[in-house]
């Protein structure tokens, strides 16, 4: 079923988003030429541990932002765009955590709300942002005006299709001026959380990357209304809950690491399978820690521990 999901996703993303990718890239290109490559963020030495902060509900359930704000963590803070404001509000600021980054990849409109905030404007100059070349220009402009240092990357999706692929054409256009060496191309895994995880070890060179607020699953006590609507984003499907299709689309998974059950939906199936696969394929020296205290991100090369334990250890 998951392979079918990937095929369907590929088709619908092309149909719905390709025009956005092209027009956003066109609008971003002048700034891309004038601003920094994401590769400027590569440290000279192996950097400290990174924490990727997503906006999933586990972060509130376990008070992870408060725990982090009170900690003496010295590593990198990588906020997914949607988590930036709540992190700052919780006291996770670049004043306390100077290695502070935000990641934004999406082409759709409406992301400017993630940057349009007084706290972002207050701390913007100390925040380093990495944006995909097809990300929403309006959101990037708000971030830029807030002082966030813009760095660029390619979000890989069709590079495989050769010189006529969007990834390769846009890369050639970027290289045409100032960026002789191009930009980093990152696997997104379909979402900003997985992109942020890649950013942590591929660009920032962290050997330890921990995840909070990213567990790609619903809690067993979340309402079915929330689960089947992917958090109220859609009308739930009209399906017989006893059907095999329903069980495939919304499977319940036991997480032995945190001794809990969680429930997937098709979107989380798509995201989680890929993230787990990519984690299993990381180089030997990379450690990924699921500190969300739940969800479905467990398995090969994934270390699970309470976030408080992670903070004590790193």
């Amino acid at each position: 079923m998951t392979d079918e999901i990937e095929q369907v996703m590929q088709k619908v993303y092309y149909e719905k988003l390709y025009d956005n990718w092209v027009s956003n890239f066109a609008l971003n290109l002048k700034n891309i030429w004038e601003e920094d490559s994401g590769n400027e963020l590569i440290p000279k030495n192996i950097s400290k541990a990174s924490i990727v902060i997503g906006k999933g509900p586990s972060i509130k359930e376990h008070n992870h932002l408060e725990l982090l704000a009170k900690s003496e963590f010295k590593g990198n803070i990588i906020c997914c765009d949607g988590a930036l404001i709540s992190a700052l509000k919780s006291g996770i600021t670049p004043e306390k955590f100077p290695n502070f980054y935000v990641v934004c990849i999406e082409a759709r409109q409406g992301l400017k709300k993630y940057f349009d905030d007084d706290l972002v404007r207050k701390f913007g100059k100390e925040i380093k942002g990495i944006f995909s070349v097809v990300a929403d220009p309006e959101a990037i402009d708000i971030a830029r005006k807030a002082g966030i240092q813009i760095h660029w990357m390619h979000a890989l999706f069709d590079y495989e299709e050769g010189k006529k692929s969007f990834n390769q054409i846009s890369a050639m256009m970027v290289r045409a001026k100032n960026h002789n060496n191009g930009l980093p191309g990152l696997q997104t895994g379909g979402n900003v959380g997985t992109t942020s995880w890649f950013f942590g070890w591929r660009i920032l060179k962290s050997e330890v990357v921990a995840l909070i607020g990213i567990n790609h699953g619903w809690n067993e006590n979340d309402s079915w209304e929330i689960i089947t609507s992917h958090g109220f984003e859609v009308e739930p499907p009209k399906l017989d809950h006893n059907s095999s299709s329903f069980k495939k689309l919304f499977p319940k998974i036991y997480n032995p690491e945190f001794n809990c059950n969680c429930i997937l939906d098709p979107i989380f199936l798509y995201y989680s399978k890929a993230l787990k696969e990519f984690i299993s394929r990381t180089p030997q020296n990379i450690t990924t820690i699921n500190a969300t205290e739940g969800g479905v991100i467990f398995g090969e090369k994934i270390h699970c521990m309470k976030f408080s334990t992670f903070l004590e250890k790193y």
Binding site: E4, V8, V12, N221, D240, F246
Partner: protein, 73 residues
């Protein structure tokens, strides 16, 4: 435990958050006479509605190492 919801005859969903899940943690749906298992089209429709509003697709390549990223593109 919170959980179930029902589908009204007009097809719209209504919350019933005070009800409890049964021991099998199953939904209560009102079945239509013509209800059948999900088709590929229905599945695609679900994905479009729930997933295509944003985000990306996963990049796949015959060169598996490329899937893990490209340093300078």
């Amino acid at each position: 435990m919170k959980g179930n919801f029902k589908i009204k005859d007009d097809g719209k969903t209504i919350s019933n958050l005070d009800s409890k899940l049964d021991e099998n943690n199953k939904l209560i749906f009102k079945k239509n006479d013509d209800e059948k298992e999900i088709s590929a089209e229905e599945f695609e429709d679900f994905i479009v509605k729930s997933g295509a509003a944003g985000s990306f697709m996963i990049f796949r390549s015959e060169k598996k190492e490329t899937e893990m990223g490209i340093d300078e593109l």
